[in-house]
């Protein structure tokens, strides 16, 4: 297997901050992810659903978190991954993905994950289990 970084409880993953999410990002992600729900790409549909503007697909933030994880360990070491979407990500927001090793046991590390916006809003929390053997 490929090399893994030195991992112990409290180890922080190098944070990942992405560019502010533009309407173009939302449109491209709709096509690339296959999630064509118009609420994310068509302001008329968003307004009809009671939102003031389009907002990002939850899976876009999860994909950014995926980059955080696979940028840290090779993907084949990822055993499981769970997230809860806690707030909407508005268009133009700039998410930062962070991760911290919460526990290490039996050759596996559990990473606590979070995505936050620059105003402090937590949009996503979760955890991932990584194989260290």
């Amino acid at each position: 297997m490929t090399e893994i970084p030195d991992i112990q409880v409290g180890t922080e993953l190098p944070p990942l901050t992405v560019e502010p999410i533009s309407r173009a990002t939302l449109a491209l992600f709709a096509g690339a992810s296959g999630d064509h729900n118009p609420i994310h790409i068509d302001i008329d549909a968003a307004k009809a659903a009671g939102a003031s503007d389009v907002f990002a697909q939850g899976m876009l933030s999860m994909a950014y978190l995926g980059r955080l994880l696979t940028g840290w360990v090779p993907q084949q070491r990822l055993r499981s991954w769970h997230v809860r979407f806690t707030a909407i990500t508005p268009v133009h927001a700039s998410p930062t993905c962070t991760g911290r090793v919460a526990s290490v046991a039996d050759g596996r590390a559990t990473i606590e994950l979070e995505v936050t916006l620059s105003d402090g809003t937590v949009t996503l929390t979760g955890d991932a289990v990584v194989d260290l053997t």
């Binding site: 992600f29 992810s33 950014y64 995926g66 980059r67 993907q75 499981s80």
Partner: protein, 155 residues
């Protein structure tokens, strides 16, 4: 309108056989700002020990959206796309899969929880992904359905 629980649990998804092409995976990488060439460049993927471009960890969610009408199950259960939010998402991984792999997805709704006097319903859908009957991944999606109060709906 609230979700008919027994109808939701009995809803039958046809198995879906799908493959992710290299171009689509490269598009996904671009759309998510992925700069690791393992996800876009076949030579880099092979140098990292992959037979082809790897399917990235959250893309298993997208595979299921390859159905001709991916939201048909919501429509069949009377759920408006404008009333749903993605509540939770989980993946369990058994083996890597790559561009061109023929993958079979089998889905079912495993739980419907009614919260907040019926104004919030949580639908849990589970999908198993296999390749030649070998387990690849389990995908669990929780969809939150926001319902207006009956008194408001009647207005």
């Amino acid at each position: 309108m609230t979700v008919d629980v027994s109808r939701a649990l009995a809803y039958r998804f046809e198995p879906l056989v799908v493959a992710a092409g290299r171009g689509r995976l490269a598009f996904f990488a671009t759309a998510t700002g992925q700069t690791d060439p393992v996800y876009t460049d076949l030579d880099a993927a092979k140098a990292a020990g992959h037979p082809d471009l790897p399917i990235p960890p959250s893309f298993y969610f997208s595979l299921e959206l390859e159905r001709p009408d991916p939201f048909a199950w919501l429509t069949a259960l009377g759920i408006d796309l404008g009333r749903i939010l993605h509540g939770e998402q989980s993946f369990t991984y058994h083996a890597m899969a790559h561009a061109g792999d023929s993958l079979t997805l089998r889905s079912r709704i495993v739980d419907v929880a009614v919260k907040k006097q019926g104004t919030l319903e949580l639908l849990t859908k589970q999908t198993s992904v296999t390749r030649d009957e070998q387990p690849i991944a389990e995908v669990t999606t929780v969809i939150a359905v926001l319902n207006p109060l009956e008194s408001e709906a009647a207005r």
